[in-house]
Symmetry: C2
């Protein structure tokens, strides 16, 4: 068989590596990495999400963490093939630590480790009750005054938050809070999800009516229950809302609707939060041990403060408050901004016979959805990937195994290809006056998302409207807002009955400021971004998303969120970190960066 040689090589390297770790020989273990190596650890060694970059960082991490991790049982994963391509040998691996079971992906350059991903699968003795270990449901045998599943669920709903306290309070019940809540439930961590809306899924339902997911279905599965094969590629917003609502119900989450968190305070002595919430008009004080902000990775809406905004006679609102085009049929609208929301809103306004102008203030990266699916996601997340045996879980780990520090190098060829195949499309946009970019280093959409979470539009049709002049386009800065419209810095006056500020969002720690206070928000610093020192992602380099899904400088405060992919994947690691703490397992964190970028 062709793979005998790579498999032998991988087995030998892994065996030697495991032996070195087993006898505590950090020098020998570190020497097995190439100098410019990357070891990304998700919770197994570091109790953190941390990428060791270079052999020196590997050695430093192991010197600190090896004793408590006490890894053993390194082996090539069963049922997977070791592959070799261009001198790189790639192998799926399994192992254990003192407290957990891990899975990962190892890439060798020659006979040395180039990249290593180690990820926590489960905590020993605290495995999820699934598959062969699933609950019985029916209680066989008989007993006096037994309670039923329904009675137990009702009793839990009645008491949790009142006579008993949740271990975790999740603020925000979108996909992030729901995915995390589902995993915590399976791990037996008492959790309440507090959501301001009336129904699970409303954070999608309440957005503008033509909204559909920009990511395709294969990328969007939640944990435990996958979308059926009949599910649309790009789910309409109300349909994803219904799915989240049913998921919340059948996964038995303690999901408090119509609930607003009013204040939160951490008692450093009692190691407990005091959170005052308004639950449908009733004030309830919760005392969770951990607080998770899952209020959307985008943070609070950034409403700009242009001169003269108060004088405008028409309707004006942030894109997050835009109700859709229906009220402005036959009227004039100006949309300030040129990213995803701006494009979607402009297209919907045009479709409803609104005279709409987009004001582009800075360059924007555009990728056609079809091209992004084909060249950007297709290998991991597509029907073809499914047919070739790729699973969502494997795809997530392959993606996670690519170190952030070199990810842009993997991304550039994708966008070079897209630029080539869609050349005519981009030429048309430029002819229409659209100001294009391809990211700071031509690395395209996904790096922009990871670095700043903004600066792009995944084209599902609005670009053609711009090319055709149906959505009017103006480049420039806003000089002022006047009673009947917008004045740009070149003197252009744009008449408007409606102004939509599609001006983006702040950092997630803004939510912490609002709920807990400025001091805690500053202690934590900016959320999201890698420190790439590219626009809107200031350095220094930290090599992981700042403050996301991992410990922060504020004890017992966590941030969770992102798209459906990230909500699914990272909820696994956040839930295991929380479960370990609940069970009193020691969790010595390695590689906590200092606070950067306050406020």
């Amino acid at each position: 068989m062709l793979d005998v040689v790579p498999a032998s090589l991988a087995a030998r390297v892994l065996g030697t590596f495991g032996e070195a770790l087993g006898r505590g020989d950090v020098a020998a273990a570190s020497a097995m990495f190439v100098e410019d190596c990357y070891w990304r650890d998700l919770v197994t060694f570091t109790w953190n999400l941390f990428t060791c970059e270079g052999r020196g960082q590997v050695e430093a991490m192991l010197n600190s963490q090896l004793g408590q991790a006490a890894p053993s049982g390194w082996h090539l994963a069963e049922g997977e093939t070791v592959s070799e391509d261009g001198g790189i040998t790639t192998a799926w691996i399994g192992f254990e630590t003192a407290t957990g079971r891990g899975y990962g992906l190892m890439r060798l350059r020659g006979d040395k480790i180039w990249t290593l991903l180690t990820s926590m699968v489960e905590l020993k003795g605290h495995e999820e009750p699934k598959g062969i270990a699933r609950p019985m449901g029916a209680k066989h045998g008989a007993g006096k005054s037994r309670t039923t599943w329904m009675e137990e669920r009702e009793a839990e709903a009645r008491t949790l938050g009142y006579t008993t306290q949740p271990y975790v309070l999740i603020v925000g019940g979108g996909q992030g809070g729901i995915a995390l809540g589902a995993r915590l439930r399976q791990l037996g961590v008492p959790t309440i999800i507090a959501e301001k809306n009336d129904r699970p899924g409303d954070s999608w339902r309440k957005r503008y009516k033509s909204l559909c997911l920009h990511d395709p279905v294969w990328y969007d599965h939640l944990p435990y229950i996958k979308f059926p094969e009949t599910w649309p590629v790009f789910s309409p917003k109300d349909k994803i809302g219904d799915w989240l609502e049913m998921y919340t119900k059948v996964m038995e989450l303690n999901y408090w609707v119509k609930t607003t968190c009013k204040s939160a305070r951490y008692d450093e002595v009692a190691k407990e939060w005091t959170v005052v919430v308004d639950r449908d008009g009733q004030e309830v004080t919760l005392r969770p041990k951990h607080l998770v902000m899952a209020t959307g990775m985008s943070g609070r809406a950034s409403l700009p403060s242009f001169k003269g905004m108060d004088s405008f006679k028409g309707d004006q609102h942030h894109s997050s408050k835009h109700p859709g085009p229906d009220s402005w049929r036959g009227k004039k609208a100006v949309v300030i901004g040129s990213n995803n929301s701006a494009h979607d809103i402009c297209a919907a306004l045009w479709e409803s016979d609104v005279d709409v102008t987009m004001v582009q203030r800075s360059s924007t990266h555009i990728v056609r959805s079809d091209s992004l699916m084909e060249y950007g996601l297709g290998a991991l997340y597509s029907e073809q990937a499914v047919r070739s045996g790729m699973t969502t879980e494997k795809a997530d780990l392959i993606f996670a195994s690519l170190p952030y520090a070199i990810l842009h190098e993997f991304q550039k060829p994708v966008y070079d290809k897209i630029r080539e195949v869609d050349a005519e499309f981009y030429a048309g946009l430029e002819r229409a006056g659209f100001w294009l970019d391809w990211g700071a280093d031509d690395s395209g959409l996904f790096m922009k998302y990871l670095r700043r979470g903004s600066g792009y539009y995944i084209d599902i049709g609005a670009s053609q409207l711009i090319i055709d002049g149906k959505i009017k386009l103006k480049r420039g800065q806003v000089a002022e807002i006047v009673a009947d419209g917008v004045v740009l810095d070149d003197g252009t006056h744009l008449a408007a009955d409606l102004i939509v500020y599609a001006t983006g969002y702040g950092s997630m720690n803004g939510w912490a400021e609002e709920l807990i206070g400025r001091d805690v928000a500053d202690k934590v610093g900016k959320c999201w971004g890698l420190g790439s020192d590219t626009p809107k992602d200031p350095g220094p380099w930290v090599g992981e998303e700042r403050n996301m899904w991992k410990p922060t400088q504020q004890e017992a405060l966590w941030f969770h969120g992102g798209n459906l992919h990230q909500s699914r994947h990272y909820s696994q690691f956040l839930s295991l970190q929380l479960k370990a703490r609940m069970e009193g397992i020691a969790t010595p964190v390695w590689g906590m960066p200092p606070t950067y970028h306050k406020g």
Copy 2:
């Protein structure tokens, strides 16, 4: 490789068989079967569910059906292994007909066909939009006055049944109606499901509170969305109710709650039903082309007419109306009957400190749930089966491939084994006076279910209560009901505050009588049962479940139902039969039996 020889044999036989069929040579094709063969066809050749028993029936069927079926492309299924065991070679096969694509299982004895299963997968040109063909969801590009998914769903819900007519009306929204409705939706067949309860799932929720499914989770999946790995083995009734409710929503079924069908009449000229329904107090007249009774395979409750029932001073009701034990704590109850419901109700009453006596009027077959799972279902429906690569769909087809005429021979060894391993349990029951049986020919539970749908208890604990005397047991017939209890034919007087008649159900055509009239019910005859000439399954032998999931003597009237397994599996074939008719595809039915057992 070991399977080279069986695979060559199977390929050769299938090739020769396909060639004979291809040139219309019925004699040659029939001669390829052993004399005592079985060919079970699900819709592909017969537009029926029909088992040809013996070479003569194969020949007769082919003489009638081969021309229109025009099968071609017979091949061994990709990715499956041909196996050989004890002289029997087993192979998965694929083929086409003039109108559809088929899949099946062939067993050879030597080089002749012993059993053949042919099942319809899809109609050509009418494939389900799934996988690579799933809908886009988002409508890329832009257009004036486009409608959204939500607007289209709302418009459909508003108009269907009023300004537009459903092609199919399904009466009853339990698992049968829901599974069929989901498949019809995917096939684009406009369908309304009429359900009398307030919410989907209520037919489970409204039963006695301790009820859990008696079948394990692996056997219970619905089409399209499988239960997650975390789902309990035996789902509590309220939990399965919630699942059905969410399924109905996310599969976008037109599910009318609080809707009672009052009358139905078929116009033989217009080929259309007129069905008057009460929808939440409003009378609506529907004109579907097809009517499906999915009101429960058990038919209407059979309330006995014992002497003196009117004189009873306490509470009395059929088991289907039993609300659970709570109102009778500290009191006395008598349960007439000794099958599943009787046992469950007795156990729940005992648990709530009710003094309960079971009256056993006839012998009952008992199997411990654990043993049934291990020996009866384990090879096809279990966690072990999943781990060994068995899928629900394959398991369903393997099960379907065992001809009803010889199924009892496959079943007997299972129950011989159970009798052996649970010998002490059965001895205990006999010591307690329980009257046991093992089915007419010792073939056990599943044959009883298929033949009569009754006569057994899957033990989840009540039997031990009987062994221990906690549930009191009396054998005998009811002589009369008196003011304060029950008198048996041996003169025993059983004092009672509550009498539960766990006396079973009638045939499904009783529902047709109620809704349409006695003439149609008689025209159709008895539903369910194989004609095995064993107790409650009178002959003559018909070799398939009577009137279930296939054409009946009443044009455009269908019966659908059964457990979750049957609701899942047979909804595939019923949906394809209905879709073919909607599309005007010729559906010449072979092997329609005359009416048996009226009323």
